[in-house]
Symmetry: C2
Subunit: 184 residues, 2 copies
DNA sequence: GCGCAATACCTCCGTAACGATGTATTGTCC
DNA sequence: GGACAATACATCGTTACGGAGGTATTGCGC
């Protein structure tokens, strides 16, 4: 079973772990989560629900539906909950490196009910952020913002560095908290 | 002619605007630009080159190739340069809202040889960043980091805010510079 | 009583993207 | 001399995604 992309699938599993929902409501929640960056089309959501249902990760129960068409209320199965935890505990490399996917993963990481495993995931992100890398190179040497003349490219580096620094300090604080075992 | 996704295509056009390159070298440059976030598969690049060639945006010239297979040196046509400028001047909404796509766009925005048009693009990003939005809501009200208990979700908001602030200040500085017309 | 938005689901079709694999050559390490 | 990485391109099969459209109901404004 591959678990390469499917941020959408992760979001579905994550939201359904909180409470059973029907597709339309699920769509609204996913739109709230990631819609300002990248909207979810219904023609992407419904096939994804079917995939997960066919894989036995969620169950469907038809109910009379207030307002219009009958609702298909979706509930995570035991396998679905297990799969969610597997995806959270052992994310693909792209889930670590791509900010959009990383944010989605973080949004549901609390469902991984084990501080040590949560910390291990944060460590992977920490390792990624510490790897020296840039968007622009001179030969093999990554260029710093100050060395780039183009103001737009300089902007990319300036913004990326600010993000990186904010995230590094958050990661260190949170890892400390996870290790000392408090809930703050 | 639609210009919805295709960050890959934009990167190809952008790099070739600087200099003619063969596919393999193009791949290395694209990998340097966005590879740390999301690697480019060869099986994605070569079809993209063919698409652009078929659309008349680039021309191919076969040369003996140092080392191995013959190189196909790719050059932007006049239409290719025009198309690049069109995509830069009038980006799709997703190019503005998705950070990965936005960074790619910024990396080549200098090829849009008109400070007023460049400023107009930055204005769109500015407007997007100013729209009140969150990843998490209580009803319709966007939640601030302080209101979220889950430390991971709080992290998402903390990091996003830091990014947003860094980018807003960069945008304002750069817009000022574009309007007063200096090269700094 | 007509249009329209919201609710709630669905399918078709085209394209984009990925992983796997293939082909062929040169240079390097051991 | 044999394995292996790098150079350089390509195809194949599958999935993922998005736009456009379809169906059906309730309730609101005018």
């Amino acid at each position: 079973m591959r678990h390469n992309a499917g941020m959408l699938e992760l979001a579905i599993l994550g939201f359904l772990h909180d409470a059973p929902l029907h597709g339309y409501e699920l769509r609204k929640r996913i739109t709230a989560l990631t819609g300002h960056v990248k909207p979810v089309a219904e023609s992407t959501l419904y096939p994804a629900i079917k995939r997960l249902e066919k894989a036995g990760l969620l169950a469907r129960e038809t109910r009379p539906g207030a307002g219009a068409a009958p609702r298909h209320v979706l509930t995570l199965t035991a396998e679905g909950r297990a799969e969610l935890r597997r995806r959270l505990a052992d994310p693909a490399e792209g889930d670590i490196t791509d900010e959009n996917r990383w944010f989605t993963l973080l949004s549901f990481l609390r469902h991984l009910d084990d501080p040590a495993r949560q910390a291990a995931v944060l460590e992977r992100r920490l390792a990624f952020l510490r790897r020296p890398s840039s968007f622009f190179y001179e030969g093999d040497r990554p260029l710093r913002a100050e060395e780039v003349e183009d103001p737009f490219r300089r902007g990319v580096l300036t913004i990326a560095r600010a993000t990186s620094q904010a995230e590094l300090s958050w990661l260190r604080r949170t890892l400390d908290a996870l290790r000392t075992g408090d809930g703050t």
